[in-house]
Symmetry: C2
Subunit: 221 residues, 2 copies
Amino acid sequence: MRVYLARDLLQANQSNAHENRNILANNGTLMVNVMGSPGCGKTTLLQRTLQALTCYRVSVIVGDLYTSEDAEKLAPWCDKVLQINTEGACHLEAGQIGHLMVEENLLQSDILFVENIGNLVCPAEFDLGEDFRVALISVTEGNDKPRKYPLVFKGAAAALVTKKDLLPYCDFSSQELESDLRQINPELKVFQVSCKSGEGLEPWFKWIDRQLLAKKSLASS
Amino acid sequence: MRVYLARDLLQANQSNAHENRNILANNGTLMVNVMGSPGCGKTTLLQRTLQALTCYRVSVIVGDLYTSEDAEKLAPWCDKVLQINTEGACHLEAGQIGHLMVEENLLQSDILFVENIGNLVCPAEFDLGEDFRVALISVTEGNDKPRKYPLVFKGAAAALVTKKDLLPYCDFSSQELESDLRQINPELKVFQVSCKSGEGLEPWFKWIDRQLLAKKSLASS
């Protein structure tokens, strides 16, 4: 039996993440790591986003403990969707992503979205080699979440405040949330959206579009 | 520097949990481990529950990554509330609980609630020595969560479906949820509640009361 030290696994993950990032840069493929609590709306946001980005080749890797339900929901809207079942593990790792990127020709895509395991804690510790992270928080979770789980918001380029349509029924202070987010990560771009009504999604689509164009121009220079 | 193996830590946790369980049995103190996603309503449920159980001596240990906000919300309603800040770690461990039980005289309590870290994955793997576990799922998370995170529901004695007042605004099938829960854990007791309106809470209070009386009669026999 081989015994692995957590320390060694984290170091190995970092080295794999570094390699992923180099490969992605050479190909001009944008990788976006999408994180948030169970039920915060990661899959629904990706559905809407894929429907809006049909002019691009988009692939998705979906992390899930056991099922393939989320992948099935996304399949009609993208070039390729792959499911990683972690069989109980609480996060995705860079080696898993790198393996699929190469084996499954995901580098032909313009964008590769990774939907991480529904968990505000552990995924934040594992760099996947992504270009940037996106952290979701739904208004039904309460506006204290960034204070309680700061790491995931600290490492993100954008935060999406989801389920805005439920705002009238929740005790949720958008003002307090934005002030906390500014304190944790002053550079964070914040989008308030409802995937049900579509409200607020357009600026998010445009922002992703701009990130992709920036990446492409970097790769071709 | 000392390096710990994950395997050894899990074994140590199990041995500490066993010890906690023995100590609790000798004292007739009921320990309830409360688990669920970030924002599913663990603290609010505990607030309501403490307000209903004022005839008992009740203590609470609250696990949180960094803040003490939840503990402050519960303090007015119980004999003692203690905060464990895990500083980024994703679950509580039996050794932490055992240490506080003894150091802080929590065994004088009739009930000890433990509010675990907001996470549907990792806390389910760590036995704290509790009498039973309670798993929360809010209707805003979607009814697919037991299929996607079965372990936490498999190991629980009761599931509380929270935020029932938001049901009219969510795509949530209670029927599908209950069918999935029955398949994962046929013994699971399910309560549908709204901590906002108070609907459905009374049967939950009575159930906790019955568990406590059963424990007391075991301890005195």
